[in-house]
Structures are given as C-alpha cells and as structure tokens.
C-alpha cells in the first residue's frame, strides 16, 4: 500500500525537535500523540471513578434493604456514574484513539488544528472537576438521572448551574474534537489516499464527527434553557408557566440517540481494523461497511421517540419510531455478517485484540437483539424503566464500546510504546472481563423481565438472588480492570521490542504499520505515497 517510511521518518525525527521537558510538554501540547495520550489517561481515570460509583451501586443492591448509603446518595451515584462514564470515559477515550491514530492512518504529520486540539482536551479536566465537586456541596450532586429531565432536575439545588456548566464544557470539547477530525481527514490525507482507500477507523470517526457537530449543540441548547428556567424565570419546560416538560425529552433524545451511536460507531471502526488483521484476510465488503455506518448515523436522527413510548404519543408516531428503530438492525446486520464473513476460512489467531473483538461481536449482538425487543411498542410498555433496559444498554456500552476500546489499546499499544506487552496477563484480563461482564449484566435481563424497576436502592425480596449474582459479577469485573492497568504500565516501562509491523505473521493494513515502533514524535513529515 505504501513504501516503508520507517527509516525516513526516523531520520526526519532528528531535526524536528524533541518534546518539551516536564509539565510544559503536557500543558502546552500540540503533538497529536501527546494529546491522544492525555485523553486516554484521562478517560482511564474517569473509567475508574465511574467504576467506583458502580461498585457503590452494586454493593447497595447486593441484598434487599438499605444498608450502605442513603437513597438520595444512591440516586446521585446512578446519575453521576452515567455522566462520568458517557462524557468522561467512553467519549474521551475514542477522541484519544482518534488523536493517536487518524494522523498515522491517513499519513499526516499531525492533526490539522493542534492548538484547538490542546484546548479541547484541557477544558475536560475543568469540566469534570466542576461536575465531581457537586458531590461535596450542600444538597449533593445531580440525582435525577443523566437525562436531566425537568421538572425533577429543576427542583435541584446548587448543583444545577455547576452540572449545566460542566455539560456545556464537555459539549464544546467534543465539538472542537470533531471539527479537528473532519478537517484533518478532509485536508491532510496523503497523496493517493482517496476516501475509499481510507481505513475503516478513520471512516467511522469521520461519520461520528459529523454526528457530534449535529447533536452536541442540541444538548447545549436544551441545558441552556434548563438554566434559564431555573435561574432567570423562563418557562420553556415549566408547565405552570405555559411551557412543556415533554418538549425537553424530545430535544434531549434528539441528541441522546445519536449520542448512543457516537459511542459505538468508532468501535465499529476498531473492530473492522482488528478482525481482518488476525483473520489474515481483507475486510469483507469494506465499501458496504462504510455505507452501513453512514446509514446507521442517518437513521439515528429519526428514532429518538423510542425512548418516549410510555410518555404518550400518537399511534402513528409510535409505529413510525418502532419501524425506524427496527430498520437500524439492517445496516447493523450487514456489519455483523461482514465481520463474520471476514473471519470465514481465515487463518485466525487469538491475540488479546482479537479476543476482545470476538467478544465484542457476540456480546454487542446480544445488546442489539434486546434493543430490537425494546423497539416493539407494546413490549417497551412492559420493559420500560426496568432492569431489562439497564441490561440492554450496558451490553451495548460495556462489552460493546468499552471492549472495543480495550481491543484498540491492545492492538495499538506496541505501536505507541515500542514494546510488546504480557500476552498472558492480557489474556487473563480478557477472560476475567468477559466472564464477569456476563455475570454482571446477563442476570439483569431476568430481573427486568420479572419487573424490577431501575434506579432504586432497595427492592422486593424475590429479586435477591439475581441481584447478588449481578453484584458479584460487578466486583469481579471492577477488580479485573486492575490487570488492564498493570499490563499498560508494564508495557510503557519496557518489554520485548515491537517491530514496525507489530503483529508479525498477521497482515495488518494501514499506514501506521509502516512507521517504526514506537511511532516517532513527528511522523510523516514527508507525505507517504499511496498506491
């Protein structure tokens, strides 16, 4: 695909300067690798903070009755867990991967707008400091759910302004990151790399970036109006003043459903990179994969009503949202079948990235199936606000998005650090994660079907057994992630040298594998030629 740039780039690295020393390197970073690393470290920290909140939730639900925390704090934990995991862990980790990999994959020396890149990262720690500090103010943190529905959210105390400001900052950060991705891909691809030659990870991120630009301002607009309702006497969502609380739900989910795809489309790109490598075959139907991602992105704008079936809406609207939601199964099915066809008669090997990708394929599909169930209006009437919904979206987001992130880290870590990691530890991490994630979330389907409501700190005794199993799974999954950190730290500190290709014997495709490992601080200072 491209000539070997390893030697060239190593030479050029010499006269483009070394990274600044100390804290300045990180504070004033404009290098895409440094900023990508900061995003990934930040998201890992948030993953553990959000995970600690999940542990509190599962500890409280270990058995019926109130034992560890008071119900108000429990509600704060469910709300903050969601906000931290969505906006602090999953989204920034994908932006971190984009920062690291998009310039390397399109043959660019850096992201197109490096100072904006720095700014979009550094407002995130401020945003989350503000959000997390609400736990320590009188009245506590937001507790009405991550959806911030009025009137409940508006009845909150001091946290309202802080949470809304934090959400605005997160949105601004995401929009700037998205602009950077689009501008980089549209302007900085190496000569000869037309769009259809571009790696699937870049494609998935290009589409995700457009989604972000379309929907993050919608969230920002909605929460701005919440702010004015709370502090400036407006009544956009206040029925007493002539407003409409249901309107907020429509606006929120117009953002919220594409947001779900923002968290999964880059994962599709990652899986589309890993499966061909370890199947030693090209991706089956690469062009149809791109169309499938684009179709999913388009459909994500016309399905928001399925989050609101029980709120009351005309029958025609219910049918429309049900059918449009089910339609998403078609391009998603195309992807799952293409991934399966990629592996068909391939020469498979099962290194950690491949194991996580395979786990993604099976478990994400389970989450997809339960999503199709929830799309059926009368079924949703039954399952809405139960643990079945919790099981569904956690299957999509944990063995879906989070496993894809872990797969990506295991796939590209040797390229980033120049060292191979401990395959044994990584595989142990994989098996523990896969077993415990199912112990954690699969029983929640049963609990939901049996009628256990979500977002409650106490429950009827008939739900005891499966809650106990789920909590054990939760503690196991949480503890397993310590192995992930150990593998990464060991790999950063040293280990067997990784070759430029890293996965010797496999057939990785993409420009990143033409660079030496670790990738030089300034890569592709001369554009590679794509044939």
């Amino acid at each position: 695909m491209a000539h070997d740039h390893a030697a060239d780039t190593a030479h050029h690295d010499d006269h483009h300067g070394e990274p600044a020393k100390g804290i300045k390197r990180w504070l004033f970073a404009t290098n895409h690798k440094d900023i990508g690393t900061m995003y990934l470290v930040f998201s890992l920290i948030m993953f553990f903070i959000g995970g600690a909140m999940a542990m509190i939730i599962r500890a409280e639900l270990f058995k019926p009755g109130l034992q560890l925390v008071d119900p108000a704090f429990f509600n704060q934990m469910t709300t903050m867990h969601a906000l931290v995991m969505i906006f602090g862990a999953v989204m920034p980790s994908f932006v971190g991967l984009a920062n690291w990999m998009i310039p390397l994959q399109v043959g660019a020396p850096d992201m197109a707008l490096p100072r904006m890149n720095n700014f979009s990262f550094w407002i995130l720690p401020f945003a989350f400091t503000i959000l997390l500090s609400t736990l320590f103010i009188p009245g506590g943190a937001p507790a009405g759910g991550w959806t911030m529905y009025p009137p409940l959210f508006l009845q909150g105390g001091n946290y309202v302004a802080m949470a809304i400001f934090a959400v605005h900052l997160m949105g601004a950060s995401s929009i700037m990151g998205a602009i950077n991705v689009i501008v980089t891909i549209m302007n900085m691809r190496a000569p000869g790399m037309n769009l259809l030659k571009m790696p699937l990870f870049c494609w998935s991120w290009l589409i995700t970036a457009y989604l972000l630009i379309a929907v993050m301002p919608v969230l920002a607009g909605a929460v701005t109006m919440l702010l004015t309702d709370h502090y400036f006497g407006t009544s956009f969502f206040n029925a007493a003043g002539g407003g409409d609380p249901l309107m907020f739900e429509h606006v929120f989910w117009f953002f919220g459903h594409p947001e779900v795809y923002i968290m999964i489309l880059p994962a599709f790109g990652i899986i589309s990179e890993i499966l061909p490598t370890f199947s030693r075959k090209p991706l089956f139907g690469a062009t149809s994969m791109i169309y499938a991602i684009a179709s999913i992105a388009f459909l994500s704008f016309i399905v928001w009503g399925h989050h609101m079936f029980v709120d009351g809406m005309p029958l025609a609207a219910q049918v429309f949202f049900m059918m449009s939601t089910m339609l998403i199964a078609v391009p998603t099915g195309v992807k799952v079948f293409n991934w399966s066809a990629t592996m068909w008669r391939g020469s498979l090997s099962f290194e950690p990235p491949m194991l996580f990708a395979l786990s993604f394929l099976f478990l994400f599909t389970i989450g997809g199936f339960s999503g199709v169930m929830l799309a059926i209006v009368p079924v949703d009437f039954q399952y809405n606000q139960t643990y079945f919904v919790v099981a569904h979206f956690h299957y999509v987001l944990v063995p879906g998005a989070v496993f894809a992130i872990m797969a990506a880290v295991y796939y590209w870590l040797p390229k980033w650090t120049g060292h191979m990691y401990s395959m044994g530890l990584a595989k142990t991490h994989f098996w523990l994660s896969t077993i415990f994630v199912n112990v954690l979330f699969f029983p929640q389907h049963f609990l939901g079907l049996a009628g256990m409501p979500r977002r409650i700190p106490d429950y009827a005794v008939q739900f005891s057994d499966w809650n106990m199993v789920s909590s054990i799974g939760g503690f196991g999954f949480g503890l397993s992630q310590i192995l992930f950190v150990i593998v990464i730290v060991q790999c950063v500190r040293g280990g067997k040298k990784a070759s430029a290709e890293v996965w010797d014997g496999a057939t990785p495709t993409g420009l990143e594998w033409t660079l030496p490992s670790p990738a030089p601080y300034h890569s592709f200072s001369e554009a590679p030629e794509i044939r």
């Binding site: 404009t30 197109a112 707008l113 929009i175 501008v183 190496a190 000569p191 630009i213 117009f254």
Partner: protein, 87 residues
C-alpha cells in the same frame, strides 16, 4: 521544505503549491495576511506545517464552517423549542 504538501496534494484537490508571494510572508510587510501569520504561528506551535508548508486556508475555512453549523444548530434548536413550548 522539500516534502510533498500532504494538505492538498491528494487526487482531485487543487494544488496548494502557490508561490510564496501569493501566500504572503509569514509576518509583516506587503502581502501579509492574517491567515499566513496564523499558519506560521501554527507551525511554530508544532503544527502540521513542520514539513515546510503552512496549513492551507481551506482547512481553516472548513473549521470555521463547521463551527458555524454547530452554532446555527445551537440557536436554531433553542428557537424551535421556544416556539414549540409555547404553541
């Protein structure tokens, strides 16, 4: 300074290899333009212009266009919601 301009050398794109005078000097003097100054300072900050050619104007225009779309969505959705919540 002798690298291929990856910003605009991809097939189907207009060549960006304009004469230096057309691009304007990096700072001050006749022909100086704010975009050229910005591009030069981007390069000084370690931006992609390390291989000798500043970030071209199209990239900057695309970034501003996308930011404008985001702002239009922000105010547009507020306007729609204000209208819908009272009618």
């Amino acid at each position: 300074m002798n690298g291929i301009d990856v910003h605009s050398a991809a097939p189907g794109r207009a060549p960006a290899n304009r004469a230096p005078a057309e691009r304007g000097p990096a700072s001050g003097g006749p022909g100086d333009r704010p975009t050229a100054r910005l591009a030069a300072s981007d390069a000084a900050a370690g931006a992609p212009a390390v291989h000798g050619r500043p970030l071209n104007r199209r990239a900057r225009h695309l970034a501003f266009a996308l930011m404008s779309v985001a702002l239009a969505f922000y105010f547009g959705f507020i306007a729609i919601t204000v209208y819908r919540s009272h009618h």
